[in-house]
Symmetry: C3
Subunit: 342 residues, 3 copies
Amino acid sequence: MAKTNPGRFFEDYTVGEVIDHAVPRTISGGERALYHALYPMRHALYSSDEFARDCGLSAAPIDDLAAFHIVFGKTVPDVSLNAVANLGYAEGRWLKPVWQGDTIRSQSEVIGVKQNSNGRTGVVYVRSRGLNQRDEVVMEYARWVMLRKRDMDAPAPETVIPELKKSLEPSDLVIPDGLDFSSYDFTLAGEKHRLSHYEVGETIDHVDGVTIEEAEHMMATRLWQNTSKVHFDITARPDQRLIYGGHVISMARALSFNGLANAQIIAGLNGGAHANPCLAGNTIKAWSEVLDKAETAAPGVGAIRLRLVATKGGAPFELKGPDGKYLPDVLLDLDYWALMPV
Amino acid sequence: MAKTNPGRFFEDYTVGEVIDHAVPRTISGGERALYHALYPMRHALYSSDEFARDCGLSAAPIDDLAAFHIVFGKTVPDVSLNAVANLGYAEGRWLKPVWQGDTIRSQSEVIGVKQNSNGRTGVVYVRSRGLNQRDEVVMEYARWVMLRKRDMDAPAPETVIPELKKSLEPSDLVIPDGLDFSSYDFTLAGEKHRLSHYEVGETIDHVDGVTIEEAEHMMATRLWQNTSKVHFDITARPDQRLIYGGHVISMARALSFNGLANAQIIAGLNGGAHANPCLAGNTIKAWSEVLDKAETAAPGVGAIRLRLVATKGGAPFELKGPDGKYLPDVLLDLDYWALMPV
Amino acid sequence: MAKTNPGRFFEDYTVGEVIDHAVPRTISGGERALYHALYPMRHALYSSDEFARDCGLSAAPIDDLAAFHIVFGKTVPDVSLNAVANLGYAEGRWLKPVWQGDTIRSQSEVIGVKQNSNGRTGVVYVRSRGLNQRDEVVMEYARWVMLRKRDMDAPAPETVIPELKKSLEPSDLVIPDGLDFSSYDFTLAGEKHRLSHYEVGETIDHVDGVTIEEAEHMMATRLWQNTSKVHFDITARPDQRLIYGGHVISMARALSFNGLANAQIIAGLNGGAHANPCLAGNTIKAWSEVLDKAETAAPGVGAIRLRLVATKGGAPFELKGPDGKYLPDVLLDLDYWALMPV
């Protein structure tokens, strides 16, 4: 039998199974510097230990999306190596900051399975979590993917579809211990807009754009130890390498600094769709829509719910066509909660 | 009103104003490793903690030009986002080494304004400085840029043109505390040439070349949190992305190791011109001319004033045409002071 | 006389001479993060401090091949700047792990010279070693290169051909102090295959592929301060930049994780041939053959001797044609010893 990992197929998942994913990773300043070289990140809380201390933290944590990518990457060999499609995310929560020196590993629990009516594919739902060296859960999220069956004659499992929230409630969000925005420095943060300046329904065109290069998306994706062949091997698909959807998420989040500089911390991921494939040569731009606002118990800290849309062309604020489908230039439609000074 | 940063226009600057720039940054070994991956840096004092200790320092500092880029990048959103041209630098001085663990922020004082006779643009002079977490100035430089007016009918301000030295005097240079080249290891440094081996007027062809890639110049420019659109967004200019002038400076400085390996520390920037745009695909080569030599008070430490020229073709040592203009293959003409064993 | 380094020619080497190479380097988490961004590295012992501690080490060392590249890169200006060909490696041994914070320098002893019958070139054999800041040898290897003569009339030196082992014996391998695989975590390591699961003669197709980019191989090669012009300057060769052979070695080793995840530590390099040039755009794949197996004195630690072949096309397990020459799609044929749980 081959010693290489063939990946799992639909019938290999059982509801309740817990998968411990391989290759823990210790984080250093190197990961942070690379994250800032690969994306135009400027959120001050993640760039400056001093700024983070002035907000009540012990140092600047690793970017929340870098933490997500680290956790996500480890799940790929066990969850999505044979995925036909990455269908959705829900209930993503950042529970503890990830610090330099932390070692992160990942674990997934199978929380749902549903064979498709074609009998050849099925949907698997997992709840994945990242744990640090103290076995504290640093983040968690639900994700569902469509997988091929290995054996078309394998019987359909009992359908289990987990109940997943359309959106996290503000009370679901976990605020980092000690976070205090009451003496927040808006000048050093780069913008003067606080939560009260944003209106629900408001849209923001983030203006800036970045043209994507093969070398950059591969370095990013490799750094997270994501092993999906289509991102690296030009012979694995008919045309170009497909860019890891997380690369688009991070790029759009970084671009959103221009207009949302004070949406410092990502605390919750409500949902997300990779609307169209992203390829090298695309120029990514981004726009946001304010979906909700809320208070939190931490001093000076509010929560803002945002839709973040990444595009590779077209006008800002256009999302779907008359048929209800994403327009062809839309790459990403992400729904998340961020923490911002009130 | 849009929440994104539209940048400042000529009439937005008042002489005497001090601008605190956003997004401080904490430096780690990650920034250093990236700097050495992006440029063929080999100066031993910045590569080896042990070598730096043998020269009287506590560890290897961050490269002087990396420190410059960090300080410079932060000024872009407030100074040069709408710049038509980056006209010049003067009086650049490195005042304190930047160490791993330091957090750097930037500040600029407007020191001059002059509306152009066309009434549509003007020149703004700033003195920018980088400060560490102890509020010590780590470096400073004057820079002047040409900016558009927002409102063509805005009245011209009173012209103020600062007095800037054509070149720093050796006595203006600040030697890092404790620097001592009296037991300098020429073998580990890579060349045997000391200050007394160089003659004023001598020229050095640095021989090596590097062909520039889009991914690399974007990673470098992003790492310094420079937000100028033309470096990243292929749709922002008619042809290719324009490469950040600082990328050319760092590349040329790194190439100058071959012949100037012992010009370890950049202590002063007398002036500099980005003679022609640099684009991906260009092959950068460099040559130097010795402009001056001086003693310093530190044991075994001398100063060498160098012209550093980067080219994308043509023969070394050719700089300007009969019309007094830079030849089309010249990218950079930089005038700086470096510290070298006597 | 030019101050730049012209490199050495065949007649500049004398058997017994020891060359101290320039530019020591202090390693941080930055180098590790870059190594993991440039190659799809997943070996847990080098990714996680916690995993390394569970194997008896104090932390995750720098990847063995990164240590090799650091040592090798420093030798280039003195050994192979004028090389016509890199002919072979032998007797490579990793003697001490390299840790973050270590400063590495390199030294080579000339151990053989042989002028070729054409009178215009010759072969130089060196034994290179890397030393840390405590003057401990961290690794060593023999290498031989073909060099041009500067002066065709220079007399041929007495021929000295060193005796080099075709392959290291298991007893030649040095096991890192404290290494203990007796409570090895196969789940976190990513595969369940231990030494006893591999048969001598067994071949493994590592399945995954990576398409190579110019920016990546240049960043890697620069990080190791390798100054060979052909890797960086498109004008130095008739066609494309030639990719550093070490880039292919690291890429193939990283790809070999899939099937050899538990071949954690490279302990010996028996030999290696760069069979054909690698250029940007090539898609590298890899296969391995088990050549030998052995016990070691360390608890739970065995040794596996592997042939690692990198290709840019063609079928796995094809190496040479009927003429005994490497097939045109073979890039690398490497013979090494790795340490693996028994």
